[in-house]
């Protein structure tokens, strides 16, 4: 059996298993109910530890005949989910107290959501987190356990429960791994052939070793990362959305294995295939649209600032193209120190029509993070959570991607009542409105977040992070070295273009009064199409590299970056200014009326730092050059530009894309993603979906098979291809 056939068999086996996946959730929930009743008077973290102990004993485990990893527990986590928010057992305790923190929050934001000011669902974010993988790989959970016991033995009585919860939870987790080792041994003994025996013996050996101890091989490293991510996401109620900075963490093991002849490059490639394949099959991405919230990080630098770009970086990208995997978001950190060959590797992935990677600029993001007072050594180990949003691996708990504030909606609110006589006055009113709204959301979030520890402490996640063991505080109490909240705004270009239109129409040219503009927007430009065309085509727009507009945009974004200054969350950490979009720009556009930039009512808002979708951009390179005007180091989170280009032949495209990446670095943009769209093919795919099952497009921070998108999403992608 060749490796292609092996992979196909692996995919078939996974598919069959998850198709018939019937987790005994009710039995588990009944068990947890009993544990809860028995421990309800105890400290929340001890309650959580007791729940962990029960789950690690009670959940059935499963090993696959083809997949060489061990992680699958029947926790009741449904097929198309990554845990966290969708883990019933993990959120068991949290949901008990929903009346305390979630319901009041939902009630408070209900009208804001309906009116399009705000989109969000929770006061604190339990998704898009990253484990402290460096501790897990560096000292193993036994090492962490020993440290917890040692520090805990000297802890004050008030902090004892935290350490007790950590040690109990780690022992429960390691018990789970031991159960996998025993099961693998049993399967090895009963295997009918040599290959099957070897497969399970290999798993048994690894499960006996990791995550208790540091991995000795590349394979064990993979096993440890996958086990910790999957199991902790399932049982702890925290969404670990990233496998971390893999080419940095695993390269020494990879290199040592190759040097010792323990593994070939091809064998390493097969392990990477298995990792990618697991996500694609579990989420059924060849049949429907599902968000996977699964990310890996490549490139960038190590803790000392040395560039990471090695053979493993290349191997990950090669395997991605070979298998045409789409479910894993591959976030590639680039910098001015990286060689062009790296950018050409990245171009090759794009040219294979796999828009699954996002480029993140270390030059800017590291500066943006250190500007927030974070140590450079910690910043250098940043990763992305679910899509673009940044978190420092090992040291930061950043809650985000659960709240978005609409800048365009707030602008309409200012416009509703303003009688400003100068643009400066109008802009001043707008800034005050935005700040007041930002502060209101912060107050609501903080009120909810105060209950986080009580509702859902995270002893396992906490134990892997720098700061929690040292301080004796859970991650939910601000125990990690950095406890941030990146509260995102939305509609950058819509906001900037609308402000500029108001300036031009009302104050510079006197073409309209504020009253007239209000009336025209209320009527959605009905009877005023010539004016709308004038606004769209004659007033400069963000993203077209227009000098005066660039200066204006830069000023507005500088001002907005100060919204979070001095704001502290309920864990004692900082609010960080952010602009990551997800695909919320669509529902938030549907919720609001026409805007002064010529955008019609209910159309999408602009996304990230990209120009508005309905603006004609004659030169796609203008987007890159427009970025140069903005100081992205003022934004601690990733601020993503999307560039839509025509399909290109490989030799041409590699050179073109590598050059654009270099120009992007020089312009000091934050994040960049490409979509190579062939308009004819998109239109044909709408007519003949069956012939285009492999047409993959970038939706936002993630990619999907085009033909599975709904009609509205398809139309939006096609509108991008036209310009």
């Amino acid at each position: 059996m060749n490796s292609c056939e092996k992979r196909q068999r692996m995919a078939d086996e996974l598919d069959a298993y998850y198709a018939d996946f019937n987790p005994k959730t009710n039995e588990l929930l009944a068990l947890l109910e009993g544990v809860y009743a028995a421990h309800r008077e105890e400290e929340p973290s001890l309650m959580k530890a007791a729940l962990h102990e029960a789950l690690c004993e009670a959940c059935d485990i499963h090993l696959f005949d083809g997949l060489p990893f061990f992680f699958e527990i029947r926790s009741g986590r449904p097929r198309h989910t990554w845990g966290g928010l969708q883990s019933h057992v993990g959120l068991f305790a949290e949901s008990k107290l929903a009346g305390l923190w979630l319901r009041p929050y939902e009630k408070a934001i209900e009208e804001d959501r309906r009116e399009g000011f705000f989109h969000g669902w929770r006061p604190f974010g339990i998704d898009h987190h990253c484990l402290g993988y460096d501790a897990i790989l560096g000292e193993g959970f036994e090492g962490i356990l020993a440290r917890a016991e040692q520090i805990g033995s000297k802890a004050s009585p008030g902090q004892k429960p935290f350490y007790e919860a950590v040690t109990k939870s780690i022992r429960a987790l390691l018990h789970m791994a031991e159960r996998f080792a025993a099961e693998a041994r049993r399967r090895a003994e009963s295997a009918s052939d040599g290959a099957g025996r070897a497969h399970f013996e290999r798993i048994a050996e690894a499960a006996a070793r990791v995550p208790a101890k540091p991995p000795r091989t590349f394979y064990e490293g993979f096993c440890s990362i996958l086990f910790c991510r999957e199991v902790i996401s399932s049982i702890e109620g925290i969404g670990i959305s990233t496998f971390g900075h893999l080419d940095r963490m695993l390269f020494p093991l990879y290199e040592a294995d190759l040097a010792a002849g323990r593994m070939t490059r091809e064998e390493a490639g097969e392990l990477i295939h298995a990792l990618f394949l697991y996500t694609d099959v579990r989420f059924e991405l060849r049949r429907a649209v599902h968000e996977t919230s699964t990310t890996i990080i490549l490139g960038g630098c190590d803790r000392d600032g040395a560039v990471v770009y090695n053979d493993l970086t290349k191997l990950f990208l090669e395997v991605l193209v070979q298998g045409r995997y789409i479910g894993t978001k591959v976030n590639c950190r680039i910098s001015s120190k990286h060689p062009r060959a790296y950018f050409e590797n990245l171009a090759d992935v794009q040219l294979a029509n796999l828009p699954v990677i996002v480029l993140q600029n270390d030059d800017v993001i590291l500066a943006a993070r250190t500007a927030q007072g974070q140590a450079i050594e910690d910043c250098r180990l940043y990763v992305s959570g679910g899509c673009h949003e940044i978190v420092l691996q090992n040291t930061e708990v950043n809650t985000r991607a659960d709240s978005w504030i609409s800048l365009p909606r707030l602008l309409l609110k200012t416009l509703e009542t303003s009688a400003a006589e100068s643009f400066e006055d109008f802009y001043g009113e707008y800034r005050r409105d935005v700040q007041a709204y930002y502060d209101r959301i912060i107050a609501l979030k903080n009120e909810g977040e105060r209950h986080w520890y009580e509702a859902s402490p995270l002893p396992l996640y906490s134990s892997t992070l720098t700061g929690c063991l040292e301080s004796g505080r859970d991650a939910t109490q601000g125990g990690a070295k950095y406890s941030s909240t990146a509260l995102s705004m939305l509609g950058t270009a819509t906001c900037i273009d609308s402000l500029y239109s108001i300036k031009h129409l009302v104050y510079d040219t006197g073409r309209l009064t504020l009253e007239q503009l209000r009336g025209i927007l209320a009527e959605d430009f009905a009877g005023n199409e010539p004016l709308r065309q004038y606004i769209i085509r004659k007033i400069p727009k963000y993203g077209t590299n227009h000098a005066a507009l660039n200066a204006f945009a830069s000023g507005v974004l500088d001002d907005l970056s100060t919204l979070a200054d001095g704001k502290i969350n309920a864990r004692g950490g900082k609010y960080l200014p952010a602009f990551y979009p997800h695909d919320i720009f669509r529902p938030m556009g549907i919720a609001i009326g026409a805007t002064p930039d010529g955008r019609r009512a209910h159309m999408p808002l602009s996304r990230g730092c990209s120009p508005s979708e309905f603006i004609e951009v004659e030169n796609p390179l203008d987007i890159i050059h427009s970025l140069g005007a903005i100081d992205f180091t003022k934004y601690a989170d990733s601020f993503c530009a999307e560039m839509t280009l025509p399909p290109m032949e490989k030799a041409v495209g590699r050179n073109v894309l590598a050059a654009i990446i270099e120009a992007f670095l020089e312009q000091k943009g934050s994040s960049l993603q490409f979509n190579l769209l062939d308009r004819e093919r998109l239109l044909d795919a709408q007519k003949h979906p069956e012939q285009h099952a492999d047409l993959i497009v970038r939706v936002c921070g993630y990619s999907e098979v085009f033909v599975f998108l709904n009609a509205e999403q398809q139309a939006e992608v096609i509108s991008r291809a036209i310009r």
């Binding site: 010539p530 004659k538 030169n619 796609p620 050059h625 050059a659 270099e662």
Partner: protein
Amino acid sequence: MTGTVFNIQHFSIHDGPGIRSTVFFKGCNLRCFWCHNPESWRTEPEMQFYAARCIGCGVCAGVCPHAKDGKRALLSDDCTACGACAEACMAEAIRLTGKSRTADEVIADLLSDSDLYEKSGGGITFSGGEPLLQPEFLRALLLACRERGWHTAVESAVCVPWERIEALLPLIDLMICDIKTLDEAAHREATGQSNARILDNIRHIAGTGKPLLLRTPIIPGFNDSRESVAAIAEFIAALPGSPALELLPFQSLCKSKYESLHRAFGAETLETPERAYMKELAALAERSGVFCTVNGL
């Protein structure tokens, strides 16, 4: 120094190496019936009307100095292409194409992407229309490019006196020329000009050692036979310096341009040749020892 340009297209990746900007000169001495740039034929400014963009607001009729009975003169015999309606049209449905521009204005427009010319090994391509019909303007632009270190390509039908080409050649880094057919009578009928001077000039250019890229648009019923392509390949194989050949399959995407000019499209009923057939023609050309691609791929 001024000249007439009808468009500057940024991010051109099919008119020479790397990322380029293409400057389209207005005015041409050929009239190829399949031409995809009909707005390039006449030297003087022209009006274009894109009906799909029109929002029917009627502003154009109001500003038209030659309007009759409240109807605009656009694209009628009364229209003088003064451009008043294009200026007033909010939807940019009416355009005045081919304004006179100074060389400095053109260079200023090209400057924004200079970082990418450098990073991609690209540069500027002068196309048309026929750039060699405005030789002094072209010379000024080529000199300005050279000052900035930008690579230059000139895409020309070379149906002009050899001396004019010879004088400009030292300022050009790459020549791109069409060979439509070797059949003189057919060439004359399809383009309005003999191919004798064109083929002579191509021989001369190849003889100078200047980098040369040759292109043949494949037009159904005109030059799409195997014999026609084989003859072109043999001609190229005999040239010094073994220039490469690109076959470009006919496209009808330019139809809306003819409509915008109220002009008949002589190739309206033609269809794009099949991809497989294009590959077969390329393989045929390669048999004569010519490096041949389809659309540069």
